[in-house]
């Protein structure tokens, strides 16, 4: 078990990656703000299983209503593959992020090809948004998409 974690970590940390995605969580001025749950995943254009690159949720919350309870609110990610992921997942899951830009490396072992990148955000006492954009691996040129409410700019970069 320890060994697999070590392997996973070393793979995630390897510099030979297939590009990166930067997800911006917008600052939203409301009386009661909770940072959103966010999932980032890719699906092969030709069809095939989704691969989760990142999921940010309340990892630390335990008890009667643990942080995992609300993962299904990321409803598209949940249906496309989130529900069959064992969480926490090394190199994939992590704590929720504060508003700002967050860079996610695309693992080097993602096979070259055409994909669709999805970013989904769901916020307690707030909204939910799904943004998608085409993604080629290896990533050659920078590309950009943007959410309207729960997500800000999403950028692709070759490194």
């Amino acid at each position: 078990m320890k060994k697999t974690i070590a392997i996973a970590v070393s793979m995630a940390a390897t510099p030979a990656m297939a590009g990166s995605v930067t997800v911006t969580i917008p600052r939203i001025k409301v009386a009661e703000y909770h940072v959103p749950y966010v999932a980032v995943w890719i699906e092969p254009k030709a069809g095939g299983p989704a691969r989760t690159l990142a999921v940010w949720y309340d990892v630390a919350k335990r008890g009667n209503e643990p942080g995992t309870k609300w993962l299904a609110d990321l409803r598209t990610w949940w249906r496309k593959g989130g529900r069959s992921l064992n969480l926490p997942a090394d190199g994939v899951s992590g704590a929720t992020r504060a508003p700002g830009a967050h860079r996610i490396a695309i693992p080097a072992n993602v096979k070259p090809g055409s994909y669709t990148l999805f970013v989904e955000a769901a916020r307690e006492d707030g909204g939910r948004e799904l943004v998608s954009m085409p993604l080629d691996i290896p990533t050659r040129a920078a590309a950009k998409a943007s959410g309207k409410t729960e997500l800000g700019a999403i950028t692709l970069s070759a490194r």
Binding site: N64, T68, R83, S84
Partner: protein, 313 residues
């Protein structure tokens, strides 16, 4: 079709089933859960428009909970209020659950010395009896637009004629030897909804090869409003081609139209449903044939009802 199925329900069920004269529905609080530490809380009622608690509570004494591993669960915190019953189901195992009710029975009519009698005892007051001998005028009444079963115990002016309570026998074994014009119908029906915790499973969808069955092609907790769903219907394990199925969205009173889709299965018994919007849907199919399992019955009436939750993409 609604009226027709209502009529079936009235004629077939009033005697044998708990108050199912109106459309019976389950309304779960949710159908998709991310872990096995939660409960689903369920409303159960009967009314004209699905999910609108404005007529009668459903009798939930016989609610069954089929857990994904084949074991049976137990409803918790059951209560019966005026217009709906409620219960909780602890979803403590991963996979897809089926929760609902199965009803089977034999009902019908016969004559003794020219007097009409009926078979089957309606559980709970008040006795409202209908016989298939009398269902022809009842059909006319329903078809002419009179609200079917407008009130519990519809026995007032204009309602179907009541049968003498002394002319009701509890089961087909009590039919006297000198009975004539015996007309018995076997009824089998199922009304259910689905809940998935974690990844879905299809262990509970293996056909039994008996009666009218629902076999999902699209898993019933995977429904999204921008994707068509497909479900296969079988009768005795064979594709139910040409089966009429109604699909009605909830929220009737916020719309002009009831939004009923009347759909038909294809030659493989597969129904394709497009969802006009996200929400809870009530799906209902019924079919009658002449293949009852009980030799004393001449007809078999099979019904299937499901509550389906459709999410936004």
């Amino acid at each position: 079709m609604i009226r027709k199925s209502l009529l079936f329900a009235v004629a077939a069920s009033a005697l044998t089933m708990p108050a199912l004269a109106h459309n019976a529905w389950f309304l779960p609080s949710t159908t998709v859960l991310s872990d096995t530490q939660q409960s689903v809380t369920v409303d159960a009622g009967t009314s004209t428009a699905p999910f609108e608690a404005n007529h009668n509570a459903m009798n939930i004494d016989n609610v069954k909970i089929w857990a994904p591993d084949g074991s049976m669960g137990t409803p918790e915190n059951t209560a019966r209020s005026r217009y709906r019953s409620t219960f909780d189901v602890r979803i403590d195992k991963p996979g897809t659950w089926r929760i609902g009710m199965e009803n089977t029975g034999i009902s019908g009519s016969f004559k003794v010395d020219g007097e009409p009698w009926t078979v089957g005892r309606r559980r709970g007051p008040p006795p409202v009896a209908a016989t298939s001998a009398q269902s022809a005028p009842a059909a006319a009444v329903l078809a002419s637009g009179t609200p079917p079963m407008g009130a519990p115990g519809a026995g007032g002016p204009g309602a179907r004629p009541r049968i003498d309570p002394s002319h009701v026998v509890a089961s087909i074994d009590d039919i006297p030897a000198n009975a004539t014009e015996i007309d018995l119908t076997e009824t089998l029906s199922r009304n259910e909804f689905f809940v998935t915790a974690g990844a879905p499973s299809d262990a509970l969808f293996q056909p039994r090869g008996k009666g009218l069955e629902f076999v999902p092609v699209t898993l019933p907790t995977d429904l999204v409003s921008n994707e068509a769903a497909q479900f296969r219907f079988l009768v005795d394990g064979q594709p139910a081609a040409g089966l009429e199925v109604e699909v009605i969205p909830g929220g009737r009173r916020y719309r002009e139209s009831d939004g009923t889709q009347k759909l038909v299965t294809d030659s493989d018994g597969v129904l394709t449903v497009n969802w006009p919007m996200p929400g809870m849907y009530w799906l209902n199919a019924s079919i009658t044939d002449a293949k009852p399992s009980n030799p004393k019955a001449s007809k078999r009436r099979m019904g299937y009802t499901a509550t389906l939750e459709v999410l936004a993409p």
